[in-house]
């Protein structure tokens, strides 16, 4: 059989059905009736014991959302979502606010174990001192409610607030009021507005002036409830001179129905502050025929509000049927810096439309974009990015590098860069390449004794090296493993 034909056949046999983390946890849920209305918004707000101002904020968003229409400009195709056929609130029935592991639903812990999430945090959760040199605090968001919050005490000593956003709304209303919606306005886009109306929970981080967060903050998301839209809301504020590194990772169980996820993440960095936000996303991508899978419409934006501030996004995207995601930086402060490092892997029938926006407003602002897209199977992988310099952004600089790697010949890679400069002194550089794992490259590896899976993993890991290096150590190892798993079976 000709080599190319064989590759084609093998690629078409990809078993994306064997989603490694596809199982369902049997935990009773407490959920709102299907559909969306003002009553549902009130129900969610009441469930969270929210103050009136928050309810009003949500209702305002809901009313605005009713006047908006779904955007269609991205390169993704999916059947129309019936927003009245979704559940907008679901909480696991677990005793609220466990103080230790013993109080956590064992099903939940068993699930994390199955996921192989580095919850060596078990020891850390139990508070064993010196369990590891680099400690990770986990605010596990299970469906919609934070069930475990660790290290709170130690973080508190440093003055760091790390809690569920629902708690922050009650406990720190002044900070929340000041910053919520200040980076991603309520009417920013269709999905962000929807999120503003119905967000169920998420994380809140506040790093006070001059504080370097003593540990990396980590949240694992998991969608578990049938037909439940997930609407996470995350808000991170780094005061003057503060530093924080935040890790977000997620997997989800196998489902037939498409599950909608529309998260909003807002980051605010004041003068000399630095925020590093890393994501590993591994939601269910759908089965081998492209059925099911998560629809992921996310709005992530960081505001370098203060001079010399810095925001860095690093993402490894391997899951979801549809990914629509553009973590962006507004470089408002003079000398502020934005970075975007991305690996997007698509296989089977996955569709990825992802990239970033670097908006240069301040003087001498700098941004850097490194994007690595890997497409296999029948997937489509699009990088969409905007780099813009406004009139006052003298001395703005950007470097963009977009590389695509194709495996097989039924997949697509697309690069859609938008570059706008209104300041003559701005310097923007853009580099892009597209390559293919060739049959002879694979044969070379096989001839040296590597299996085809080892060969693909080796070639792909070489391709993504520049981005992997940006990830925190424990995430880097996980991410490499995840990329290999995602591409299993993509060649014979």
């Amino acid at each position: 059989m000709p080599a190319i034909q064989e590759t084609v056949d093998q690629v078409s046999q990809i078993d994306v059905d064997q989603y490694k983390y596809g199982f369902v946890t049997d935990i009773e849920s407490d959920r709102a009736p299907k559909g969306l209305s003002e009553d549902i918004v009130r129900f969610i707000s009441a469930k969270k014991n929210e103050p009136d101002w928050m309810l009003e904020w949500r209702l305002d968003a809901y009313r605005r959302w009713l006047t908006m229409t779904e955007p269609t400009w991205s390169r993704v195709h999916y059947p129309k979502i019936d927003f009245d056929d979704l559940y907008y609130y679901s909480a696991p029935k677990s005793s609220p606010g466990p103080k230790s592991l013993d109080e956590v639903d064992p099903e939940l812990l068993a699930m994390y174990e199955k996921l192989g999430i580095p919850l060596r945090e078990r020891e850390i959760l139990a508070g064993v001192e010196g369990a590891s040199d680099r400690r990770v605090a986990v605010d596990a968001v299970f469906d919609s409610v934070s069930v475990v919050t660790t290290f709170k005490e130690e973080l508190k000593k440093a003055g760091v607030i790390f809690c569920a956003i629902s708690e922050a709304i009650r406990e720190y209303p002044e900070i929340v009021k000041k910053y919520l919606g200040s980076v991603v306005p309520v009417t920013d886009n269709y999905y962000a507005t929807l999120n503003s109306a119905v967000f169920s929970d998420g994380s809140f981080v506040y790093i006070p002036e001059g504080v370097r967060c003593p540990m990396e903050l980590s949240t694992y998301f998991r969608i578990n409830e049938r037909n439940t839209g997930q609407f996470e809301r995350t808000l991170i504020i780094a005061e003057k001179g503060a530093h924080v590194s935040y890790l977000e990772g997620c997997t989800a169980p196998m489902r037939d129905e498409n599950q909608l996820h529309a998260a909003v993440v807002e980051l605010v960095a004041l003068e000399d502050a630095e925020i590093k936000y890393s994501t590993v996303q591994n939601w269910y991508p759908g089965d081998k025929d492209g059925k099911g899978g998560i629809y992921n419409f996310v709005t992530k934006r960081g505001d370098c509000r203060g001079d010399r501030s810095k925001i860095s996004w690093t993402q490894v995207e391997t899951g979801s049927a549809i990914t629509w995601k553009y973590p962006s930086c507004i470089l408002r402060g003079d000398d502020s810096q934005g970075e975007f490092y991305s690996i997007a892997v698509s296989n089977g029938y996955q569709q990825v439309d992802s990239g970033t926006k670097m908006i240069h407003l301040g003087k001498n602002t700098k941004s850097r974009i490194i994007s690595k897209g890997i497409a296999a199977g029948r997937s489509d992988n699009t990088y969409r990015g905007l780099v813009s310099a406004h009139r006052k952004a003298s001395g703005a600089r950007n470097f963009t590098n977009c590389d695509s790697l194709l495996i097989g010949d039924k997949c697509g890679a697309h690069t859609v860069p938008y570059i706008e400069s209104k300041n003559a002194s701005a310097v923007f550089e853009h580099e892009a390449t597209t390559s293919k794992i060739a049959d002879d490259q694979l044969f070379y590896c096989l001839q040296r004794g590597l299996s085809s899976e080892e060969a693909v993993a080796l070639i792909v890991n070489g391709f993504v090296k520049d981005v992997i290096q940006q990830l925190p150590m424990e995430f880097a190892v996980e991410a490499q493993k995840l990329i290999s798993i995602s591409l299993e079976g993509s060649v014979g």
Binding site: F443, Q447, G492
Partner: protein, 249 residues
Amino acid sequence: MLEIKNLHASIDGKEILRGVDLVVPTGEVHAIMGPNGSGKSTLSYVLSGRDGYDVTEGEIIFDGSDIVEMPAEERAAAGVFLAFQYPLEIPGVATMTFLKAALNAQRKARGEAELTTPDFIRRVKVASEKLNVSQEMLRRPLNVGFSGGEKKRNEILQMALLEPKLAILDETDSGLDIDALRVVSEGVNSLRSPERSMLVITHYQRLLDHIVPDKVHVMSAGRIVRTGGPELALELEAKGYADYAGEAA
């Protein structure tokens, strides 16, 4: 060691090998010469198990068993090594990383323990010094930006580390200047051993001045048409392949 019997192979339905018979006893170095398109490179790919070639008839007996159905990576672990005419590049993967992955994959397949890093580094150091391969070169991504000579030295370095029972050298002299040819040939000669067979595929006689074969075979139109001693190569050099052109495809 290697015994090829009436080997027929085709690609895309076109028959390239039309009944190759060849015996390479253990410890011997045989050369295969022939005009372009005679099937020399195809033979090297079929021996090493490249996808896309259909063996329609015949046997490849290696180390006592027929390997026709054996996947490429298993043949590699069993001791078949092919030095490529055009070694492939793998961006972002350090040469050292690739060497280690290959060596350990083969050891694993044979049920041997993986090498410890110090042990591995020691072996690479010994082998690379002989071939004039610098540490800097080992840190560079595999074959990326390597000169022709560097690529070929890197092939021989891999051969030295993987210690195959059968080494097939496909046009190893192509793209080499005379100095590089000498280094590569010395490397190959130092790997000659009573336990190792070699099949040196070349279009030109000059490589065989450096790597002197025990036997020379002439391939034409997918068959071995003549076999002789080293002097056969000189004859071909003088007369060219014109005598065999009639049989070419």
